[in-house]
Symmetry: C2
Subunit: 227 residues, 2 copies
């Protein structure tokens, strides 16, 4: 088998300064992301990631303390992308609750990896990452929730703190809804084949839209009545 030249370090193979280390780190993350596109999380071993990244397994642990930390970092990237898109959208004028709900649903459907990663955030990723790293992640998140939340508040005319709250609700709802809407292929096939189970399958976009519309209305309704 031909050895890949996926690695961004050119002919030199060793990351010696900070920039090169960042590149290597990026290579590893890219490799993991590529695998994650085709494979469920539990099926991705560190050996796979190492091979895909063109390094030895031990090397991974020079850049990430645990497997979960690696994927938590990946999720961090996806979160950044998502919030960037959200901020960009909120900068456009004349946003209604319905239009926003529509946009959110559309945008999320276009980010399946993000959805899958968010779904395992609490139950898997945060469970085996050193506390300091988790806190770094949470701080980034909190900061973006704060700024985007404020924008959202303005754009949708929500009561104080309503923007952040809405974003947190979104985070609480989205993974559950996504899991309900998109079970693994074999399970999905079985469910669709059984009329008794049909009721358990939902359409992600439809449900999220309806839920968001209701919730935004609820928030807007409390505009005048604090507490």
């Amino acid at each position: 088998m031909v050895i890949k030249n996926i690695c961004s370090l050119g002919p030199s193979r060793r990351a010696v300064n900070a920039d090169q280390k960042d590149l290597r780190r990026g290579d590893i993350l890219t490799a993991a992301a590529t695998l994650f596109e085709r494979t469920p999380y539990e099926a991705i071993t560190m050996s796979h990631v190492a091979t895909a990244a063109g390094v030895a397994k031990g090397t991974l642990y020079l850049y990430f303390p645990t497997r979960e930390a690696l994927f938590l970092h990946l999720l961090g990237q996806h979160y950044a992308g998502w919030f960037d898109a959200l901020d960009a959208r909120l900068r456009q004028p004349h946003l209604s609750a319905q239009v926003w709900a529509e946009w959110v649903a559309h945008e999320l459907v276009a980010r399946p990896l993000f959805l899958r990663l968010v779904a395992i955030l609490h139950v898997v990723l945060e469970r085996n990452v050193p506390l300091p790293e988790v806190l770094v992640f949470k701080r980034q998140l909190a900061s973006r929730v704060a700024t985007s939340g404020a924008e959202l508040e303005r754009a949708l005319d929500l009561p104080p703190a309503g923007g952040g709250r809405l974003l947190l609700w979104l985070q609480a709802v989205v993974p559950g809804l996504a899991q309900m809407a998109t079970p693994p292929a074999p399970l999905r096939a079985a469910i669709e084949a059984d009329p008794q189970l049909a009721g358990l399958l939902v359409d992600f976009t439809t449900e999220l839209r309806a839920l968001l519309a209701a919730v935004v209305h609820g928030l807007q309704g409390t505009k005048g009545t604090p507490e």
Copy 2:
């Protein structure tokens, strides 16, 4: 160490007929449930369960095909208890959206094991259980969602299919909200110590109440306008 007589089979140690096997099965589930009260899921090994149940590890696999199947069964019991309580509540007259939301939040807070199990349903439990067993579980669930959903529809004056839909939404929302509201102890401590992170902590009851109220209103609002 003194050997326990936790086992419900009296002096005879062997489960030979169906009834005795059910007892054994029950013993194992009880042992797992007891462990789960004090220990997070990932930390419970099959050896622990075996010891707690007073059997050998191999015996567990005579009653459950995988670890996940064991806990999925446990979740099935909790679901049954939850739907029983829900049905009982719905039989009482004069239920408003607010009162119901209040009741749901209260009842769920009183069932922390249920919440923890539901949280790992899709990501953990369903991943390593033979498809037929998952389908049995899903069928039970679908059946209770259908009947309780119908009752809910009546009690809250929801549009057709609104009851089941509401229950599914509840299922999508509750685990996420519970995870957000109750992180593991060390993480929680760190979050509370950091003012920047305070915004990420939410109160389960408050948020669920608000969310449910909004959603029920949303559903009731669509009463006259199908689709």
